[in-house]
Amino acid sequence: MKLIIAAIKPFKLEEVREALTAIGVRGMMVTEIKGFGSQSGHTEIYRGAEYAVNFVPKVKLEIVVSAAMADQVVETIQTTAKTDKIGDGKIFVLDVNQAVRVRTGETNDDAL
């Protein structure tokens, strides 16, 4: 199995979720994060003092899928989250040795 980690723009979350559901992803974990990257770094002024905004709000998706599905998921995220503007985000893929469904104790692919 694979763990797919993706950082995307928050307003794209719903769209990406729908696209993933469409290709059969049945679960994911979503976390609000602060993203740092090439997009970052504009400066603002607060009470007369400049400060650099180094972090931009992003949403992180963590999805575990069977190895077979991984590429399709990555591609789906990439195409859906894309706006061609800087800061669209990144996708990373890691190996997962084991998965368990708490409710049933099912493991691995059955757990997803």
């Binding site: 609000e32 602060k34 603002e44 002024i45 607060y46 009470r47 007369g48 003092a49 400049e50 400060y51």
Partner: protein
């Protein structure tokens, strides 16, 4: 102005001498004092109406305590919010108790000076109200208002002074030293200097004009805060290798609410300071004060909005909030005599003062967590200075001298207190506590325990 009119025989002379110095509001005072004007309310009705002015004005000024609490809670970082709230409610409670125990009678010698015009007898110490169910004969001053209503109103001014200090020193001062300072401030420092003007002391005799307290209340709070800030030093990480690191307020909705609350309370603050509502002249003056007070706040806020837009390309809400308050402080020394136009302009300059005063303090590495010094001290000086522009009874020289005298006294007095407190118990929490936030370390609870902080 807060000249308390009940004057025992013993002080009649004094009164006679200094009454002429009281400026416009005195007309009102006289109106109330003199034999009832033809066709007007009788003396007892006037007494009732003026008491009502104090009660309504008083609860509006009380409300300002909530305004300070919300403003400060909104402008500090979330890890210090619960502590800031604790300080605000505690300082008000302490002010209520120590103004009762000492302050009120220290402030209003009513002619009984230990040192004529400078220092009232401390005895009788505690405030004593009129009895229950009195009749005209039982009234302390039938030509004025009920003593309890006056006490209630005056107490709120004392508490306001203390509220000003808490904001500047936020996010780093220990709870107890701050509260002890509050006790000294509300029991002695504030009432003593207030007696010089509103108790009919030497500043009043000099002809100093400060209708509702740009100096007597706001600058005094501001000086005490400034001295405290110097003893305390800036928050960790506020000034780093020559740069100013902003520490954004955690809840600007609360800060805005606090500003609206203060704006509302200010109608009572300035309006009630007319000290009389029993004649056509008085109620018309009070109305004029309400309108002028609103105009100045609007002028200050709008100016800050426009200025920050021009200077920084984007308007700064926190500056707008400070601007409204600076406008209010600016008009407080003389909310009666200006026209609506002048009131607006006086307030606008208050807004300018804030927009430049905030970064100026930062340049001096004086860390004022909420901008109380520009708002209450700087705008307070401005408002006091400009009184003669619209009030012919005023003199710029006298205003400046009085500002300096009050400044000198408050700076020295509070420096001594801060110094002793620092020596004896230390003013500042340790670095780790400051980094973790005062809430968890000093209170063991958070203001927003459930919201994950970003």
């Amino acid at each position: 102005m807060h000249f308390r009119k009940f004057i025992p025989a013993g002080a009649a002379l004094t009164a006679a001498i200094l009454l002429p110095a009281l400026g416009y509001a005195q007309e009102a005072a006289e109106a109330a004092a003199e034999a009832v004007p033809a066709g007007g309310p009788d003396e007892q009705t006037a007494y009732i109406l003026t008491s009502v002015l104090f009660l309504v004005g008083g609860f509006l000024v009380f409300w300002m305590a909530a305004g300070f609490a919300m403003l400060e809670a909104g402008l500090v970082r979330s890890k210090n919010v619960a502590m800031q709230l604790t300080k605000n409610i505690a300082l008000f409670s302490l002010a209520s108790i120590f103004y009762y125990l000492v302050g009120y009678n220290l402030m209003y010698p009513l002619g009984d000076w230990a040192i004529e015009g400078y220092f009232s007898a401390l005895f009788p110490a505690v405030a004593v109200l009129e009895g229950v169910g009195i009749d005209a004969a039982g009234a302390d001053d039938i030509a004025y208002a009920s003593t309890a209503s006056d006490y209630f109103f005056q107490l709120m001014f004392c508490a306001t002074t203390a509220s000003i200090v808490s904001g500047t020193l936020a996010e780093r001062i220990k709870l107890w030293p701050f509260l002890i300072f509050t006790i000294i401030l509300t029991a002695f420092i504030y009432p003593l200097q207030a007696s010089w003007k509103w108790g009919g002391g030497f500043l009043d005799e000099m002809g100093f004009l400060d209708f509702a307290g740009s100096t007597v209340v706001h600058s005094v709070g501001g000086w005490a805060a400034l001295v405290g800030a110097l003893f305390l030093g800036p928050r960790l990480g506020k000034y780093k290798d020559g740069r100013v690191i902003p520490m954004p307020g955690s809840n600007l909705a609360l800060a805005t609410l606090g500003t609206f609350i203060l704006w509302l309370g200010w109608f009572g603050f300035n309006g009630g300071s007319q000290l009389a509502m029993g004649t056509i002249g008085d109620v018309t003056d009070v109305s004029r004060i309400f309108a002028n007070t609103n105009a100045a706040a609007a002028g200050g806020g709008l100016t800050a909005l426009v200025l920050t837009q021009l200077l920084y390309k984007k308007p700064d809400l926190t500056m707008v909030l400070n601007g409204c308050l600076a406008g209010l402080v600016s008009i407080t020394a003389e909310p009666l005599t200006p026209t609506l136009g002048w009131a607006t302009i006086i307030g606008m300059i208050g807004g300018v003062i804030v927009v430049f005063g905030v970064p100026f303090l930062d340049k001096l590495k004086i860390d004022d967590a909420v901008g109380a010094i520009p708002v209450h001290l700087m705008a307070g000086i401005w408002g006091t200075f400009i009184v003669p522009l619209t009030n012919p009874d005023g003199s710029y020289v006298t205003q400046i001298i009085s500002i300096l005298i009050v400044a000198a006294f408050v700076i020295v007095a509070s420096a001594i207190v801060w110094f002793i407190l620092k020596l004896v118990m230390g003013l500042r929490v340790d670095a780790e506590t400051e980094i973790a936030g005062l809430d968890m370390a000093e209170l063991g609870m958070e203001a927003y325990p459930e919201f994950s902080k970003g």
